[in-house]
């Protein structure tokens, strides 16, 4: 082990050279560590995005099929019938391990009875509302939309901040089979209704029935985006999905459901499983992972860039160190010759070089651990900010396009057409994705990144020493030490 002692003596004697090597190796390792921790942070963020992106699978009426059935009907008055699926099937699909939660949606249209509906255009409060989705159906002619859900907190309107609870509480699964409702603030103010009050609505059927509803919460809707004449968003009352079903006479059945996934990566497999469980051709099962994809792409780009940093710095570092050591070996030929003349094996001489570099590596690792987190944080966040900007500008140019994707099953049917729904959903998705988008990367040095750094450092010095070893092995002691 004499070569270890020699390496120590050499480093101590050549302080300036050792310090220079320490600086070079520190610079290399700081960038390698930055790359590693950015990569790790991006991987963690990608995993988090996969879990929290909220990819949804919507089961909703197949509108093409609905219209074609209506047109092929031989009845005198053609009626658009919304298909339903048994709640047992919906719940069975909801119990899949990949589903985080689900939101059943049923809608019904009623008329205000003990209060007045909000009207945005003179005389529209009593006009039959309903867009293309509701045209021709007697069930959608009321001035109030009863939007039955499993949980208001999970509806698109609430998750995208289009609606916000301002008083009372949300509708939850425990409100099933009750007549508890959450009404809009304007509707509540206009009619002096408070949480705890009871309001009455009438069904739109020819033999109208009155239904007493208990107000358990008040929400505020942003009306600007969806306001249409005679179709004010304030007239949407949220309740449990069981109430519209009982009004429509479809107890135990629902017209649409949105499943939110635990893990966005399982979107395709889960869609397939849900299709099999629902097994109803009148329904279309479609997934919306736009938010996931929008959040995922910047992470993937950061990850790929960080990987390139690690490799480029490692390769460049190996070459730089290798060349420095080769030059150093040329300057140390006489020393090597003396050792060889003493009978020292060339492997031990290479071992001494390795030990010297290893000692410097330890010092450089300390420097890298002190600076790496700071540099990684700065570079990583700069990179992320750049990627987020690129991602937002890309999606910004496509959001609002009439893609026709279902609005998570949470938009009141019969209120808006498919095209508009699609556009609105994209805006909501972009907004939700922007809200969830990571603003900063959580770059921290973990034991595994230290091990990785150590491993990379060892490989770099091993390769550099191997490069230098070629010139050591070729040295002939006679040529170095004896010249006539």
């Amino acid at each position: 082990m004499n070569y270890l002692k020699r390496s120590r003596l050499y480093l101590v004697h050549k302080k300036g050279q050792s310090l220079l090597m320490l600086l070079i190796m520190s610079a290399i390792l700081v960038f390698v560590l930055s790359g590693i921790i950015i990569q790790n942070a991006a991987i963690t963020a990608t995993n988090n995005v996969t879990k929290s992106a909220g990819t949804t699978i919507s089961v909703a009426a197949n509108r093409d099929k609905m219209f074609s059935q209506m047109r092929s009907s031989t009845a005198k008055t053609k009626t658009l019938t919304t298909p339903t699926v048994a709640n047992t099937k919906i719940k069975k699909a909801g119990s899949l391990s990949t589903v985080a939660y689900y939101n059943i949606t049923n809608t019904a249209s009623v008329n205000a009875s003990s209060f007045d509906a909000v009207s945005t255009t003179t005389g529209t409060s009593s006009m039959p509302s309903g867009g293309p989705g509701g045209g021709g159906t007697t069930a959608s002619s009321g001035d109030i939309t009863i939007n039955g859900v499993s949980s208001t907190a999970h509806t698109t309107a609430f998750t995208s901040n289009q609606a916000k609870l301002v008083s009372g509480r949300n509708i939850t699964a425990s409100d099933a089979n009750t007549k508890n409702v959450v009404i809009e603030k304007e509707l509540a103010t206009d009619n002096s209704v408070k949480v705890g009050d009871t309001i009455t609505v009438k069904t739109t059927a020819s033999s109208a029935k009155k239904i007493k509803l208990k107000v358990v919460g008040i929400y505020k809707a942003k009306t600007s985006s969806t306001s249409m004449p005679g179709n004010d968003p304030s007239n949407t009352i949220y309740t449990s999905y069981t109430l519209p079903a009982s009004i429509s006479g479809t107890v135990g059945k629902s017209s649409s459901v949105t499943y939110t996934l635990e893990n966005s990566a399982k979107e395709k497999a889960t869609t397939k499983q849900i299709k099999q469980i629902i097994a109803n051709s009148s329904f279309s099962v479609s997934s919306d992972d736009a938010s996931y994809q929008q959040l995922l792409q910047p992470m993937k780009n950061v990850q790929a860039f960080a990987k390139k940093i690690v490799w480029l710095v490692a390769i460049a570092g190996t070459i730089i160190l290798g060349l420095i050591i080769i030059l150093s070996v040329r300057n140390r030929q006489r020393e090597i010759g003396v050792l060889v003349s003493l009978g020292e094996s060339k492997l031990h001489i290479i071992g001494q070089l390795f030990a010297e570099l290893f000692t410097i590596l330890i010092g450089a690792m300390v420097v890298a651990l002190l600076l790496g987190s700071f540099v990684g944080n700065k570079v990583g966040n700069q990179l992320l900010a750049q990627q987020q900007t690129t991602s937002v500008s890309n999606t910004g140019s496509t959001s609002g396009a009439p893609t026709g994707t279902p609005g998570g099953g949470n938009m009141p049917a019969g209120k808006t057409g498919g095209t508009l729904r699609g556009g609105m959903t994209n805006q909501a998705t972009t907004s939700a994705a922007n809200k969830k988008a990571l603003k900063t990367l959580n770059t921290s040095i973990t034991p595994s990144s230290v091990i990785k750094l150590g491993g990379m450092g060892l490989v770099i010095i091993a390769l550099a020493v191997c490069l230098a070893a070629v010139s050591i092995l070729r040295l002939r002691p006679k040529d170095i030490l004896i010249g006539e």
Partner: protein
């Protein structure tokens, strides 16, 4: 005993021998001096007997064993010690560490024995304070004495020196020659000194003159 048998050597593809069929023997307790003009091939000969190079033909035996069989690295490590004109010390070490390194590399009996080395260095006029200084801070004569102590303390029985007084003044040269004589006469080693200086050559117990491709023993 170191024996050279039928050693023949020529440079490159010229085919013209530097020397031909050289037969020499070197025994313990004696100082051998090899003297010759520059370019006569005396240092090349030293490289052969030191195991630093191989001749084109012929064999070298140590106590009846071919040094090729011993292996060049093993031969240099355990059997032979070399003293160079340029001292060839490790410049990043003290005199003490230089000698201790040689003892460790050659796995000699007194490895790790600092006091033994310090005493030996003191014996050639290098006090402990100087022994612990970096060798670059020592004079040429002191450095050469360190190199000789390094050759003396390792377990090797053969000490080969290449122009050991080439860079020294007369006073230091005399001291160095005395040290080599002590190595042979008191430490029972075989000392072979290659020199172009006839005065130094005359100090040898056996003088070998290399001229016109012939080694002449006197």
């Amino acid at each position: 005993m170191l024996t050279v048998k039928n050693l023949t050597h020529w440079y490159g593809k010229s085919g013209k021998p530097l020397y031909e069929n050289v037969n020499l023997s070197f025994t313990a307790d004696k100082v051998y001096t090899i003297v010759g003009a520059s370019g006569s091939g005396k240092t090349t000969f030293l490289a052969f007997i030191a195991g630093l190079d191989k001749p084109q033909a012929g064999e070298i035996f140590l106590d009846g064993e071919n040094i090729e069989k011993i292996g060049a690295t093993n031969y240099r490590k355990h059997k032979v010690a070399i003293v160079f004109q340029q001292y060839n010390l490790l410049m990043y070490m003290s005199a003490l560490d230089n000698v201790l390194t040689a003892l460790a590399v050659t796995a000699s009996q007194h490895k790790n024995d600092k006091q033994y080395v310090l005493d030996a260095l003191k014996g050639v006029g290098i006090e402990e304070a100087d022994a612990k200084k970096n060798v670059q801070q020592l004079s040429g004569g002191q450095q050469q004495r360190v190199a000789i102590i390094r050759a003396m303390l390792v377990d090797a029985n053969i000490v080969i020196a290449d122009e050991p007084t080439g860079n020294l003044d007369d006073e230091n040269s005399a001291m160095i020659v005395k040290l080599f004589q002590d190595l042979a006469h008191k430490h029972h080693k075989t000392v072979i000194i290659v020199t172009h200086d006839t005065k130094i050559a005359q100090k040898g117990d056996v003088q070998i003159k290399l001229a016109e491709r012939q080694f002449m023993v006197s």
